[in-house]
């Protein structure tokens, strides 16, 4: 016996009413006026059961009527006849896609997700096929269709849970879009053995805002695949995150108060947080904490407090919210790089008509690197990262430069006059045809090889316009007879503007015009400094080291480079790249050089607000009618529907109401027959 509306059974409590009325009627407080109490002794009231409840049969009838009505309203039905929806239903091919992104590290979320996955596996019909996969930056399969089918139906739920517990959430950002696409393709590839097979992707995720969906827009969804979402709600709504204000930026020693970004969740109830420094390895707080106000749903950038001990491995810690997974910010401090550039030539130091004057001003010291420009007289230091040569060089100078380049270095030779071309001949030990170029008004650079590393940074259209640089005097240098020479840029006359000539294992760059005002206005151009730095980088003068990355970033490693954690243990890396898979500070050693890389959580993972499911629908994801699946509710709804059907067939309530009416009649008759003699008496 089951009930459609069991709450109505509470109405049965109304049987208390007739009982109370019967009791009230039976226990009057008789007050009798008497002439005198002088002969009376007080006697304690003696309660006798008989006097409490009288007319038991009448009471029982009344209680019975109320009970029957309450019972009828509860809509009882006999459970045995509920049809089981199990057999006969269409076979289902499911792909359970469990989110393992960093946001699943929130309190209780992963445990809940695993339990839901287990529940889904348990509810699957024995004939269903299913696969279990997890996703964060990529998708990993944990249980294939074959493994699923090989398992006994009762073992599947446990297997699902066990596999999920063996992985656990990672630190990566969740690429929901990519995961959905790969799952859709996977399901589309499943051949159907019977008609009417339902293919379904069940995503078990916290559906946080930061999940990336961009790829979904271009994806054409297979026709018979549906997607449903099981949303795991986090227990705590209060989450604030700490991230670097500038992505990819690193700090050096000079910057002890890095700019950080504090974003407070939209659903957060708290606005007061504390920011402090802590030891990177142990997390023990160091120094004073500062109070930070952040309005819910807003992000604010602030300067971190002064780093208490310079040079140590530190991290910034935000406290005051409920979820700790995104509260640490690791910061790698790196020292400014020393770059040595040699200048070979005769230009005076403070002569604005000379090349050196502009070169010295171009290589300003920056936070990241310190370029030391030195003038070489006869010998070119092998330690110099880059050499700029110009003017007519002495034989010794030419020889030194040739040796320098042949040793595998890179140098730039600026042909600022025809006399300088002679020096070039000596460097290359070859006779080049050089003449003063014919310029009508001014010459411009065109036909730039943007594929070359020097020009690669200018490849974007907004940077690629070199026509603003006007050249008044150019030298026409013929490349005839130079096998390993390539023209990186030409003047509009067709003459090479920038040549790259292989010399030994090194490269000699030849610029066919100078940047001094007599030759051109190149030195005044916005392209001048970037191009020089580009050359410097090409020369291997410095490497743009990435020191601040997010989890999941791929870092290229040089041959023999080793990545270590702070405690000295090596991090496995393969074939010249390393994928950062956990936040923290890492030390990358490349031969004698080493630098630190700070790996932090993807800021997207901290956006823990709930994802708009409708956004998915607008991207063409074939969602089931119910946007999000609530398993319990679904199961309950199915059972309720079946129960309603059975109840409407049985209609026991009618008989109960009829019985109640009969009892009402009996009660009326009985009560009347009881009161009749009383009436006769009076």
């Amino acid at each position: 016996m089951s009930f459609l509306a069991p709450l109505f059974l509470l109405g049965g409590l109304a049987v208390a009413l007739p009982i109370i009325f019967h009791l009230i009627r039976r226990t009057p407080v008789v007050q009798r006026l008497f002439s005198s109490l002088m002969f009376l002794n007080p006697s304690p009231p003696q309660l006798s059961r008989r006097s409490r409840l009288d007319k038991i049969l009448l009471l029982l009838l009344r209680c019975l009527v109320i009970g029957l009505v309450a019972f009828a309203f509860a809509r009882p039905f006999l459970r045995g006849k509920v049809p089981n929806a199990g057999p006969g239903a269409a076979q289902k091919v499911s792909l359970f896609l469990v989110d393992t992104s960093a946001s699943m590290r929130r309190d209780g979320v992963w445990k809940d997700a695993a339990a839901r996955a287990r529940e889904l596996a348990r509810q699957a019909a024995p004939g269903d096929r299913a696969q279990l996969a997890v996703f964060d930056r990529g998708t990993r399969r944990l249980l294939s269709f074959e493994e699923w089918s090989a398992l006994q139906p009762h073992e599947r739920a446990a297997a699902v849970e066990q596999r999920l517990n063996s992985v656990g959430p990672t630190w990566h950002a969740g690429e929901l879009g990519t995961a959905l696409i790969s799952a859709g393709e996977e399901l589309d590839g499943v051949t159907e053995v019977a008609s009417g097979v339902v293919k379904e992707i069940v995503v078990i995720s916290d559906m946080q805002e930061g999940s990336r969906l961009q790829n979904l827009q271009e994806f054409e969804w297979p026709k018979n695949v549906h997607v449903s979402f099981v949303t795991i709600a986090a227990k705590n709504r209060n989450n604030a995150a700490l991230h670097p204000a500038v992505e990819g930026a690193s700090t050096n020693r000079a910057e002890t108060r890095p700019l950080v970004r504090i974003s407070n969740g939209a659903e957060s109830k708290r606005e007061q947080f504390r920011l402090s420094w802590a030891d990177a390895r142990t997390g023990a707080p160091v120094g004073q904490a500062i109070d930070v106000q952040a309005v819910a749903g807003r992000t604010r950038s602030i300067r971190a407090p002064e780093q208490p001990r310079a040079g140590g491995d530190m991290r910034l810690v935000l406290s005051g919210d409920d979820e700790a997974f995104d509260n640490s910010l690791f910061i790698a401090t790196s020292e400014a790089e020393q770059v040595e550039v040699s200048f070979v030539g005769g230009a005076a130091e403070n002569d604005p008509a000379g090349l050196y004057f502009y070169l010295r001003r171009a290589f300003q010291e920056t936070q990241r690197r310190k370029v030391t420009l030195s003038r070489a007289t006869n010998n070119v230091s092998a330690n110099a990262h880059f050499v700029v040569a110009t003017d007519a060089l002495s034989d010794a100078q030419s020889e030194a430069l040739r040796k320098y380049v042949e040793a595998g270095h890179t140098a730039l030779f600026v042909v600022n006059a025809l006399t300088a071309a002679k020096s070039l001949d000596r460097i290359l030990q070859r006779q080049l045809e050089a003449s003063e170029g014919v310029v009508k008004g001014y010459a411009m650079i065109e036909q730039i090889d943007f594929t070359h590393p020097i020009f690669a940074p200018f490849a974007e259209p907004r940077f690629s316009d070199f026509t603003k640089i006007h050249f008044w005097k150019i030298r026409q240098i013929s490349t005839n007879g130079l096998a390993d020479a390539s023209v990186l840029a030409r003047f509009d006359s067709g003459a090479p503007a920038l040549l790259e000539i292989g010399l030994g294992t090194g490269k000699l760059l030849v610029l066919a015009s100078g940047w001094q005002p007599v030759d051109s206005q190149f030195a005044l151009s916005t392209k001048f400094v970037p191009l020089l730095y580009s050359m410097l980088e090409y020369a291997g003068g410095f490497t743009e080291q990435t020191t601040l990355v997010t989890v999941g970033a791929e870092l290229p490693l040089k041959q023999g480079a080793v990545v270590q954690r702070l405690d000295g243990s090596a991090v496995p890396s393969d074939s010249g790249r390393w994928i950062a898979d956990a936040p923290g500070l890492f030390k990358v050693s490349e031969g004698s050089k080493s630098y630190k890389v700070a790996v932090n959580l993807d800021p997207a993972e901290s956006k823990t607000g709930s994802l708009d499911i409708d956004a998915l629908r607008s991207m063409g994801v074939p969602l089931q009618a119910q946007a999000t699946r609530n398993l319990d509710q679904e199961d309950r709804a199915r059972k309720t529907a079946a129960a309603i059907e059975v109840e409407s067939r049985q209609k026991l309530w009618r008989w109960l109401i009829i019985a109640a009416l009969v009892f009402v009649l009996v009660e009326t008759w009985f009560a009347a027959s009881l009161s009749r003699p009383v009436l006769a008496e009076t």
């Binding site: 006026l33 002439s35 005198s36 109490l37 002088m38 009376l40 002794n41 007080p42 006697s43 003696q46």
Partner: protein
């Protein structure tokens, strides 16, 4: 020495009390009583007591009864009629406890009717009737007279509602003794629901003054029998005190105490030679009146034994 012969002639108090006018009620009782009296074997009985005494030198010759002298050749002095007339004082309890009644009328109404009946009876005989009503203090005091209109005044005083919250029996008796120097009849009508210590002393004094007294102890049948079965909160009609009493359980002790109380009152009366009549309010008033007369007759017999006097033929029978 027997009860009136026919029961049917008696009027049930319930029917009697349906009559609102007190005087009328009294008249009905008295006239019915007389009617019965004519048929009764006690024909010639008289309450009027006339005193004769032998002539002694110095007595006023005006009072000499010449007819007796003619018959017996002896001198007898006959007192003036006025003097010899009965002075009866009715002392009626008007305390609140008298306001109790279980038969549709209260003890007070019954007592008033009884007092009115006696008063009417005596008044008709030409006796002087006075009235004292009391509760914890004296209320109305009417001296004994036999004047036209006195009876009406008496009835009005009787008809006043009960008010007092206590009963002080000693007070009216003391007042009677102060007020009435001549010997007379004192009729005390009360439910005696008060400690009796004072009563005994007062009755002794009353008796010592030579008054003839009769005490009607009026009780409601509910008080006398206490036939309640259920438990209830009993409220004292006088003091308002409340008491939870299980009637069935308390009945035995109640009756025991009541009987002891009545016995004490009776013995107090008997010790002083005072008539004691216990009346429940369902008894016909004629019987009560008869009791009154019988008491007086018995008393006069006793007196006749002790002081033989010449007896004047009954006047009342006439």
């Amino acid at each position: 020495m027997a009860q009136p012969n026919t029961r049917a002639s008696l009027i049930h108090p319930k029917s009697l009390m349906a009559i609102r006018n007190l005087e009328f009620r009294a008249r009905i009782v008295v006239e019915g009583f007389w009617n019965g009296l004519h048929r009764s074997p006690y024909h010639g009985f008289s309450v009027e007591f006339t005193e004769f005494r032998q002539y002694s030198p110095g007595d006023d010759l005006r009072y000499l009864d010449w007819r007796v002298f003619a018959r017996s050749d002896r001198y007898y002095i006959k007192k003036f009629e006025d003097e010899t007339n009965l002075r009866c004082h009715l002392i009626v309890d008007h305390s609140k406890s008298m306001g109790y009644g279980s038969l549709g009328y209260t003890k007070s109404e019954y007592a008033n009717t009884l007092a009115a009946t006696i008063a009417y009876f005596l008044f008709k005989q030409g006796d002087a009737v006075g009235l004292v009503t009391f509760d914890e203090q004296l209320r109305d005091i009417l001296p004994a007279r036999n004047r036209a209109g006195h009876l009406r005044q008496l009835m009005l005083a009787l008809d006043k509602p009960v008010a007092g919250t206590a009963t002080d029996l000693k007070l009216p008796l003391t007042r009677i003794m102060q007020m009435v120097r001549k010997r007379g009849v004192v009729v005390l009508i009360s439910d005696l629901l008060t400690p009796l210590a004072d009563l005994q002393r007062a009755l002794a004094e009353l008796s010592a003054f030579g008054h003839e007294a009769i005490l009607f102890h009026v009780l409601d049948p509910a008080e006398a029998q206490f036939e309640f079965s259920d438990a209830a909160i009993f409220e004292d009609i006088e003091s308002g005190r409340k008491l939870y009493v299980d009637a069935a359980a308390a009945r035995k002790s109640y009756l025991g105490k009541l009987r002891a109380h009545c016995a004490e009152a009776r013995s107090a009366c008997e010790r002083q030679g005072i008539g004691y009549v216990e009346l429940t309010t369902d008894r016909p008033l004629e019987i009560a009146l008869f009791d009154f007369l019988r008491q007086r007759m018995e008393r006069s017999k006793r007196r006749r034994v002790t002081t033989p006097t010449v007896r004047e033929p009954a006047r009342a029978a006439a």
